[in-house]
C-alpha cells in the first residue's frame, strides 16, 4: 500500500520544515509568550492578593472606624450626661448659694429691721417718756398750783394706801 510507505522526500522536507518552524518559534515565539503569560498570571495573582489584602484592610479599617464611632458616641453620651449632671449640679449649687445668700440677706435685713425697730422703740419710748414727763410736769405744775388740790391729792393717795393695806 502506497499510503503506508513513508515517502523519503516528504520525510526530508518534514524534517526541514519542522526544524525551521521549531527554531523560529523557539527563538522568537515561545519565550516571549511564556514570559508574557507567566508575567501576566503573576500580575493577576498579585493583583488578586493585593485586592484581598486591601479588602481585608478596608474591612478592618471599617471595623475600627465603627468601633471608634461607637466609642466616640459612648463618649459623647457620657460627656453629655456628665454635662447634664454638672449643669444640674451647678444650678443646684447656684440655687443653694442663692438661697443661702438670700437667707443671709433676709436674716441680716430682719436683724437690722429688729435693731431698727428696737432702736425706734427705744427712741420712741424715750421720746414718749420724755413727753410723758413733760406732760406730767406740766400737769403737775398746773394741778399743784393751789394748796387744796395738793392736799386732795395727798388725801387720795393716802386713801389708796389705806385701801391697799
Amino acid at each position: 500500500m502506497e499510503l503506508f510507505k513513508p515517502d523519503f522526500g516528504l520525510i526530508f522536507w518534514m524534517f526541514v520544515a519542522f526544524a525551521i518552524l521549531f527554531f523560529v518559534l523557539w527563538k522568537w515565539g515561545w519565550p516571549a509568550i511564556m514570559k508574557g503569560v507567566e508575567g501576566r498570571a503573576d500580575l493577576i495573582d498579585k493583583g488578586v492578593e493585593y485586592a484581598q489584602n486591601a479588602k481585608e484592610q478596608l474591612d478592618s479599617a471599617r471595623q475600627q472606624a465603627d468601633s471608634y464611632i461607637a466609642e466616640a458616641r459612648k463618649h459623647q453620651t457620657e460627656i453629655l450626661r456628665e454635662a447634664d449632671r454638672m449643669k444640674t449640679q451647678i444650678i443646684d449649687e447656684a440655687r443653694e448659694a442663692a438661697q443661702k445668700e438670700a437667707r443671709k440677706v433676709m436674716e441680716q435685713a430682719q436683724l437690722s429691721i429688729q435693731q431698727e425697730r428696737k432702736q425706734a422703740e427705744l427712741q420712741f419710748r424715750n421720746e414718749v417718756s420724755a413727753l410723758a414727763v413733760d406732760i406730767a410736769t406740766k400737769v403737775v405744775r398746773n394741778e399743784m398750783a393751789d394748796e387744796k388740790a395738793q392736799s386732795r391729792l395727798v388725801d387720795s393717795l393716802l386713801d389708796d394706801m389705806e385701801k391697799q393695806n
Binding site: 521549531f22 516571549a32 503569560v37
Partner: protein, 375 residues
Amino acid sequence: MNRLSAIFSFIFLLAVMPCIAAEAHGGEEAGEEKIDAKEIIFEHLGDRYGWEVPFCHGKSIPLPIIVWGHDGLHCFMSSKVEHGRTYVDGNATFKVAGEDSEHKGKIVEIIDGKEYKPWDISITKNVLGLFIAVALVIISILNVARWHKRNGYKAPRKFTGAIESLITFVYDGVIKPTLKDRAMKFAPYLLTVFFFILYMNLLGLIVVFPGGANLTGNIAVTLVLSIFTFLLTNVIGTKHYWKEILWPDVPLWLKFPIPIMPIIEIFGALTKPAALTVRLFANMLGGHMIILVLTLLIFIFAAMGPVVTGGMTVISVAFSVFMLLIDVLVSFIQAYVFTMLSTIFISFGQEREHHKEEAHGHKESATTAESPAAG
C-alpha cells in the same frame, strides 16, 4: 422562516440537480467509463507533483521537482512531466511512473528503458502544504509573541487572544501538570507540535488551494513528529529512566542470563513512537476517507437513475457536512492527544528517583514500598 425555506430549497435543488443533468445529457453518456472509487480516494489522499486547480480537472499548478539522479541534481517544473510525458534534462530522462509500475505516481529516471527511482526531494503538494502550515503557524505564534512584547501584560483580543488561550490551554492543562518544574524546558517543542498538527489537520479539511493536502493523514509526517518525540524522550532521558529500561527493579532471573525485562522495556520504548505515528495518521486518514467516500456515493449511485442519485445527494451532502464538523473537532482532539502523549512520554524520560528521595525523608521506612515503574 426565511432561512428555513432557503435551506429547504437548497436541499431540493441538490435532489433535483442530478435529474435535470440526466435529462439534459440524455442517454449519451450512459456508456461512459465506470467510476473507480478506490482510485479516486487514494489519489486524493496521496501525494502528487503539482497542485490541482479546483473545477478544472486535469489542470494543476506546477511545482518544482528536485531529484538526484545518476548524474547529479535535476530541477524542473512538474508541468514538464504532466500526463505521462517524459522530460529530458541534460543526459537524464524523467517521467512519472504509470499505473503498472512499482513506483506508481512517483517520478522515475529512465535509463536504458528501465525505470529507476532517484532520490526525490521534490516540492510536492504535501511539501508545499507543509510550508504553508509552517508559515501560518509562524505567523500566528509570532503575532502573539509580538503582542506580548509590545503590550506588556495587557490581555490580547480576537485572533491573538484565541491563539493565546490555546497556548495556555495546552501549557497549563497538559504540559505544566505533567512535567512540573521541567515544563519550561519542553514547552517550546510540545507547543510547536500542537500548533503544527492542529494547523495541518485543519488545512487538510479545506478543499481548495491553501489546504487540501492530506498532511497528518500521511505516515511520513506523523512519523517524523513521533521521531522527534522519541529522540527527546530518550536523548534527554535521565539516568533513572535508562536504569528502569536496562536494569529494572525486578527479580534477578528476569534480567540476568536472558535479559527478558530489558527487551520488553526497549520494545515499550520503541512502540511508543509507533503508536503515536499510527494513531494520528489513521485518525486523520479515516476522517478524510469517510468524507471522500460519502461524496463518491453520489457518483456511484448515479448509475441507478436520477431519483436515487437525487436522494443520495441530499443524504451524502448532509453526512459530509456532519463528518466535516466532526473532523474539525477531531483535528483539535488529535493535535491535543498527540501533544498530551508526547508530554507523557517525555515525562517518563524525565523520571527521577522520586520514591527513594521520599524514602529518605521517611527515614528509610518506606524503601520496600516500591511504586510500579512507569512505562
